[in-house]
């Protein structure tokens, strides 16, 4: 199952990263959506610009405050915006969309629908960027690029997620999404700006007068903090995040459980119907044997298809998504505990004993 994706990696401009961060934090914790612009060069998708989708206007009764990329109004907005941006030399190709999330709870049918819409409708070369606002608060920039795999797209087009279809496409829950390596890119000017912002402030020529003046420096003397002073990653309050992750994990296990129960119910119903059919068939056979003995024409043996109706198999899509979501959470918890246990050990070594 060769999965040849037309895109090998994703390169995100500084501007795009900052736009997404700003948009997502502005209305946190609401999920936000937006569009990505850029172009593809030799298998590398260069994302050079982004703009947010409009929030639904008042009077709109939709429950979500942000509209999803499939909405008609959003498509209109997106086209208008791209038309405008083309005039000022911005790469006017829509190359995907972005979404914000809290602790990776983005894998649901909505996400799949949107990305499938992009990947089949527009052109093949589109990605979904997912920005995790909650994890970014712990240091780093949790921005990831995802695509649906080609197997999944084929299965999705047929809109059949029965066991047979899954086996035919060799589709497991691990093959729904494909993560693409993501690099951040700074233009020359952006590099220059970053250098300037990172210059540590000059030490003041006059030594501070008192301890309190050190803690509350007058704003005028020290206008900008250098950018590289950031100790969010050293934050020790890990419990809330772990707790939230576990809650989410349990939730998706519940979802998976429901799906498993549905499946079990279907299996039982199927088995029951099948036994009924089998008994009916043997009965008909016996009848026919009797009729044959009496030299009467045999009764048709395939009448059971009209008499009994086999239950329809439930779609496995939800179960697949739930599994993928669980995998996402579990991987996340794993990564997070790795850092926090390192921090804990460091703390244990660092505190003086009395």
């Amino acid at each position: 199952m060769a999965d040849i994706s037309p895109i090998k990696s994703v390169r995100v401009d500084a501007l795009v990263a900052l736009r997404i961060v700003k948009h997502a934090t502005g209305v946190y914790p609401t999920t936000v959506y937006g569009s990505l612009l850029g172009m593809e060069v030799d298998g590398v998708l260069q994302i050079t610009n982004a703009f947010p989708f409009p929030t639904s206007s008042e009077g709109d009764d939709s429950s979500s405050s942000a509209l999803t990329p499939k909405n008609k109004g959003v498509i209109w907005y997106q086209n208008e915006m791209i038309k405008c941006l083309r005039e000022v030399n911005i790469d006017a190709n829509n190359v995907g969309w972005y979404q914000s999330t809290a602790l990776g709870n983005f894998i649901n049918s909505n996400f799949i629908e949107n990305q499938a819409h992009y990947q089949s409708q527009m052109n093949e070369r589109t990605v979904a960027l997912v920005y995790d606002a909650m994890r970014s608060a712990q240091g780093g920039l949790a921005l990831r690029a995802y695509r649906l795999t080609s197997q999944f797209i084929t299965a999705y087009r047929e809109n059949k997620f029965t066991l047979d279809a899954l086996i035919k496409h060799k589709l497991t829950y691990k093959d729904i999404l494909q993560e693409l390596p993501l690099t951040l890119y700074n233009s020359h000017l952006a590099t220059s700006l970053l250098h300037q912002l990172s210059i540590p402030p000059q030490p003041p020529s006059i030594l501070p007068v008192s301890a309190s003046s050190l803690l509350n420096p007058p704003t005028s003397s020290q206008p900008n903090f250098p950018l590289n002073v950031n100790f969010n990653a050293l934050d020790l309050t890990i419990d809330p995040i772990l707790e939230k992750s576990c809650d989410l994990l349990l939730e998706s296990i519940d979802a998976h459980n429901t799906e498993a129960n549905n499946m079990a119910y279907y299996q039982r119903a199927l088995a029951r119907e099948q036994t009924k059919i089998a008994t009916w068939q043997t009965k008909r056979k016996a009848e026919n044997a009797v009729r044959a003995a009496q030299k009467l024409p045999p009764l048709p043996e395939d009448e059971y298809t009209k008499l009994f109706k086999l239950p329809t198999e439930p779609s496995r899509l939800d179960s697949l998504l739930a599994s993928r979501q669980i995998k996402q959470y579990a991987g996340q918890v794993d990564g997070f505990t790795a850092t926090s246990s390192a921090k804990l050990f460091a703390l244990n070594g660092g505190i003086p004993r009395f």
Binding site: Y77, S323, T337, K343
Partner: protein, 318 residues
């Protein structure tokens, strides 16, 4: 950031006049990056490009936060300047749909120069109707000359000229102070981005978790070393001692909790065990899910046994 020194005096508010000058301009890093991006995308024959600044104004109008911007096409020749006003209006409306809170606050240009055309454009942006009237419009210049520092200036304007004709095409640019601000999360993003500033291809692989922890620890060690160096220099008599710095260092050292060794060991171990347990369970769940999916696809009666597994798992978590 290159700064020009100037005295900024606010004239006392006059009753009845709504045009209080903004005292302070705050620029979000994102807007700066957008301006630089626009500057890179200008056509080769263009000296400078301009665009509209969007942002939030504080209630009394004394502080303006520039949050966003968009490019506006314009043509400049020796005699005249043409700004695509329809385009500006259209884009502004589109932006308002996505961000209803961000309103027009001014405009930017990517050259430090102020000329007659600047005055014309400034008067348009500050005008009644489409412009920012009654609030003053902010003009931000960002120089993007190669080989020089990127320098920003912010101005507001006062009208000069005796006749209305003269006043329409001239104005006095008054510099106002500004500062560049990053929100907490923006700071994280910038930190990741700035890791790429020293690499030749100007790219950086996105880092999360353990790498960002490493970066943080290295920085912390660096700062501790700096403080240590300073202290030893003072002891050796090479640096000027300061009571204030000494006091604050002592205060920081006093923050270390006084805690019994055994107690700490116990606390540490229980916490660590919790963390490890969660990690272990997460891994088990992952295996379980893997198993459940494999079973579901291979045999058709697999749904029953795996169900009980999950129940057990859940009980364990709770």
């Amino acid at each position: 950031m290159d700064r020009e020194s100037f005295i900024h005096l606010t004239k006392p508010a006059i009753a009845g006049s709504a045009t209080a000058s903004p005292l302070q301009v705050v620029i979000c890093a994102q807007a700066l990056f957008a301006i630089l991006d626009h500057s890179l995308r200008r056509s080769p024959d263009q000296e400078r490009v301009i665009g509209t600044l969007l942002g939030v104004r504080s209630e009394d109008g004394t502080e303006i936060e520039i949050r966003n911007c968009f490019a506006v096409g314009h043509n400049e020749s020796q005699e005249q300047v043409e700004v695509d006003m329809d385009y500006h209006k259209q884009m502004y409306n589109l932006h308002l749909k996505a961000n209803p809170k961000e309103v027009l606050v001014g405009w930017y240009a990517t050259s430090p120069e102020l000329n007659t055309f600047s005055a014309l454009i400034q008067n348009f942006y500050a005008s009644n109707g489409d412009g920012t009237y009654p609030h003053p419009a902010v003009h931000l210049t960002v120089s993007s000359n190669p080989g020089k520092d990127i320098s920003c200036r912010t101005y507001i304007s006062s009208s000069v000229g005796i006749t209305p004709d003269r006043a329409a095409d001239s104005c006095l640019f008054v510099p106002v102070p500004f500062e560049i601000k990053y929100a907490e999360t923006e700071r994280n993003a910038l930190e990741s981005l700035s890791l790429g500033r020293t690499s030749l291809d100007r790219q950086v692989n996105n880092i999360v978790d353990i790498q960002s922890l490493e970066v943080g620890i290295v920085e912390l060690l660096d700062m501790i070393n700096r403080a240590g160096n300073y202290v030893s220099q003072v002891i050796a008599g090479e640096a000027t001692p300061s009571v204030a710095i000494g006091q604050s260092l002592l205060n920081t050292l006093n923050l270390a909790p006084k805690i019994d060794g055994m107690e700490l060991e116990k606390l540490f171990n229980t916490h660590l065990q919790d963390v490890l347990l969660v990690s272990y369970l997460a891994n088990t769940i992952q295996t379980q899910i893997d198993l459940s999916n494999k079973l579901a696809t291979t045999t058709s009666i697999a749904a029953q046994p795996q169900k009980t597994d999950h129940k057990r798992q859940q009980r364990e978590r709770d």
